[in-house]
Symmetry: C2
Amino acid sequence: MWKVSPSRLEDMCTSIMRAAGAPGADARLVAEHLIENDLIGHHSHGVIRLWDYIEAARRGELIPGASPRIISETPTTARIDGGWNFGQVIATFATGLAIEKARTAGVSVVTVRRVKHIGRLGRYAEQVAAAGLVSLIFTNGGGHGINQAPFRGTERKLCSNPMAMSVPSGLAGPFLLDMATSVAAEGKVRVYGARGTPTPAGWIIDSDGNPSTDPSDFAGGGALLPLGRAEGHKGYALAFMVELLAGVMSGGGISGDPARSFSNDSMIIVIDPELFLPMAELEERSLTLTEHLKDTRLADESQPVLYPGEKEAEARSANRGGDIELPDPVRQQLVSMLRRFSLPEPEPPSSG
Amino acid sequence: MWKVSPSRLEDMCTSIMRAAGAPGADARLVAEHLIENDLIGHHSHGVIRLWDYIEAARRGELIPGASPRIISETPTTARIDGGWNFGQVIATFATGLAIEKARTAGVSVVTVRRVKHIGRLGRYAEQVAAAGLVSLIFTNGGGHGINQAPFRGTERKLCSNPMAMSVPSGLAGPFLLDMATSVAAEGKVRVYGARGTPTPAGWIIDSDGNPSTDPSDFAGGGALLPLGRAEGHKGYALAFMVELLAGVMSGGGISGDPARSFSNDSMIIVIDPELFLPMAELEERSLTLTEHLKDTRLADESQPVLYPGEKEAEARSANRGGDIELPDPVRQQLVSMLRRFSLPEPEPPSSG
């Protein structure tokens, strides 16, 4: 493993993206986003992704510095064309626009298309919560990002089509739902694969459609199953709705359209809760709810009931100021990109 | 079983509700809603519910004829106090108001509190789809309606907190998601109980928190588990968010507030899709998506991939014009209510 300080890692990632053509502020924003995910333990959405981004830029599929274009807008809505820039840059812009509109109109809906990987969806839900507003966010994987079988089907047809929701809280972090509508995100299957351990039963099928617990069966053309296992019709219905809201309504790429480059088409809904109740009352009532749910007999005394988002809030505070540990291959990728752009290399790893 | 024509059943239900104090139009609306649910096979939300409604009216908890009151509103939002009228009457009004606002403002959010059982959530999503609009609807069970354990907990703390979503389609029915965020709705467990057959493993726990497949363990103080089984943290997070949107933001009853009478507090979000793309393009793109998902190798050749809402659309067309079959106890309840109000009794059942 490689131990590195977040600030040093951020500088390295930023310099790589700048060298690949991104304006400084954009490069810094994407680097911060990736590193924050490593800090809160979401390594599948961390610095490990930078290699793919830079490769996509090299192929011309990702266009650093492209400006988002508002195709049309009303006081409550906007359609954004992301121009194939870094997804984090475009999604942050789109979320900001949705916040601005909800502040004046009370509610807003913004869609985004032609946008590369936007990373952890919860980040944008947190951006909305920090503004004192409520969010519902839906994202598909454009035409190319298929990894999930429809309920009753045995082939990849949908992306893991995630959704996020947030409500401000008076607690350590906002109330935050951030989930794939498949039984698990593809990144989690990859983590099992990297560790060489079987995935939980009920997550994947192999390329013949048989149940499997071998991550290599997924990599070899198998598929993720929808959230719910035997009740997978519910996860599938959620994934289908995400496709309609994010893929169809954005005018982006719907699942199964291989003519499209991968795009995290999205719909962002923002609501001003203070049109419904004062923030103090929202916080008080939701605290009462949280305490009511935590005050229960547990299945396992060591596993308390959490509020959605509590894990992220705890991980963020636990890791504040500490170093990040990354697998050596991630360091090797960074070194390779630094060399390609003739940038200074990091010091050797402080531990083996 | 008792066979009866929908129109005759509707007249009976309407006359009972009128006798209990409901204006004619309200009584007819609730009767239509209940009978439609029986027609499409959702018997748990059918005429079997009328007894509870009339009993609630007798106790003064349901107030037939109460007018919904708009507590406050903006061009995009409204807060409604349902005055404890029949939920179907209030939710239909609230949905109509959300439709009206979305037509002029593009997007709307309406909350409802102090409202009795609103029945099948999908009905309001269908009302929005029929208006050519998109809906997201969230409903809790006020303080009293607890039947679901939080993830990791072993006691009833939440309602089955359903959600519905709809998008217009060019198909037999709209795209329609209508689901409990628990692994199954309470009504389904009751159906297993009535049949005397075990529930699927993973649905319920008994009053000691142990896994069970005996529906009487649920009735005896057990609890429903959240959607997702081993991934129940996702169903729980959805149920929690429903509680925040529907219970907290409506100013209604949050889960675990036993001082409140049962209320199906709700949030209804409506979006005009034509601010994003023309309806013809929406229909065409979503048809392509549907065909893509159906064109897959199946796990079981007799179980095709469906679009969300396809089952409801098929059931509706299959049952058009036919009689409804109801269990004899439902008939006995109706007869008892008719007698109480000195109304004419139905003919004897046409078959045993």
